[in-house]
């Protein structure tokens, strides 16, 4: 199992960061996934953070909903100059991204409680409780 994880990690080490992908895109449209809204600028730009911690100034389309600070969005865009993104399209607003995490934690807690209600630890490992 650890060998398989290492094999995957080794493959992932060759994955380019978003910055490298954008540099090699040469003006083509690039997918920006799960970008976190950092701040708004008066000029119509929104500053996003990517997973690698790099910041991107994105010219947000005027007819599109402006995502809240701290929320996540995915979209396609074209890099016009270093760190500046234009021609944004195919926007996905990840509404409830944080709520999803809380619901998942709650579900996990309920499952753990149910597990210990129905299983008991014997010297031979976990076994079903005889009701």
């Amino acid at each position: 199992m650890f060998l398989l994880s290492f094999y995957s990690y080794d493959f992932g080490a060759s994955e380019k960061s978003l910055k490298e992908v954008v540099v090699s895109s040469k003006g083509n449209s690039v997918p920006f996934s799960y970008m976190k809204v950092y701040l708004y600028k008066r000029s119509g730009f929104i500053v996003f953070n990517d997973r690698w911690g790099d910041k991107w100034n994105v010219l947000w389309p005027q007819n599109s909903i402006i995502p809240k600070i701290g929320s996540y969005a995915s979209f396609y865009g074209v890099c016009v100059s270093d760190g500046y993104i234009n021609k944004v399209q195919n926007i996905i607003y990840h509404k409830g991204y944080t709520l999803k995490l809380y619901i998942s934690i709650m579900t996990l807690v309920i499952l753990i409680i149910l597990f210990f209600k129905n299983f008991e630890l014997s010297p031979h490992g976990f076994n079903r409780r005889i009701l």
């Binding site: 094999y7 990690y9 995915s74 499952l111 031979h124």
Partner: protein, 152 residues
């Protein structure tokens, strides 16, 4: 990924429909197991994410469930592995239905291939929007199977 509640609810419905009994509790574990490391990708470097991406591969998870099964009594181990793999399979099916704008990291064929699969049929947060409806459908299925099924 759909939220864990949706994964669990769909698994409960599946278990009820095909009348799985012995492996049912383990299938619930399998239904959420692939996402155990998901929370970590918010705090660790994206490079380390690759350590956990194989958790959406049945081959990798077979080893994972085998390792966890050692915590159980001998008589429960095969049921645990079988149930967990079933839950994991349904989890994977739901995950690959989603839209991922830059492609997903779901690699069902790992370690034989790093090919990622994403069918793009539903948005990633759609499951939250439909959660109340999912709960209703599961309750309805439960009711129909428990009460009407018995009368017939």
């Amino acid at each position: 990924m759909p939220d864990a509640a949706t994964h669990i609810l769909i698994q409960i419905m599946f278990n009820k429909l095909i009348w799985i009994k012995k492996i049912a509790p383990y299938s619930l574990f399998g239904a959420i197991a692939p996402d155990f490391a998901k929370g970590l990708n918010r705090i660790i470097s994206p490079d380390w994410d690759w350590v956990f991406y194989p958790m959406h591969s049945p081959f990798y998870m077979l080893f994972f469930f085998y390792a966890i099964s050692m915590l159980f009594h001998k008589s429960e181990r095969s049921s645990f592995i079988l149930g967990s793999l079933l839950g994991m399979g349904i989890h994977l099916f739901l995950d690959i239905l989603q839209t991922n704008i830059s492609g997903s990291y779901y690699m069902p064929l790992f370690p034989f291939s790093f090919k990622t699969i994403s069918l793009g049929l539903i948005n990633t947060e759609t499951s939250l929007f439909f959660l109340p409806l999912t709960i209703l459908i599961v309750l309805l299925t439960y009711f129909l199977k428990e009460y009407i099924g018995k009368k017939i």
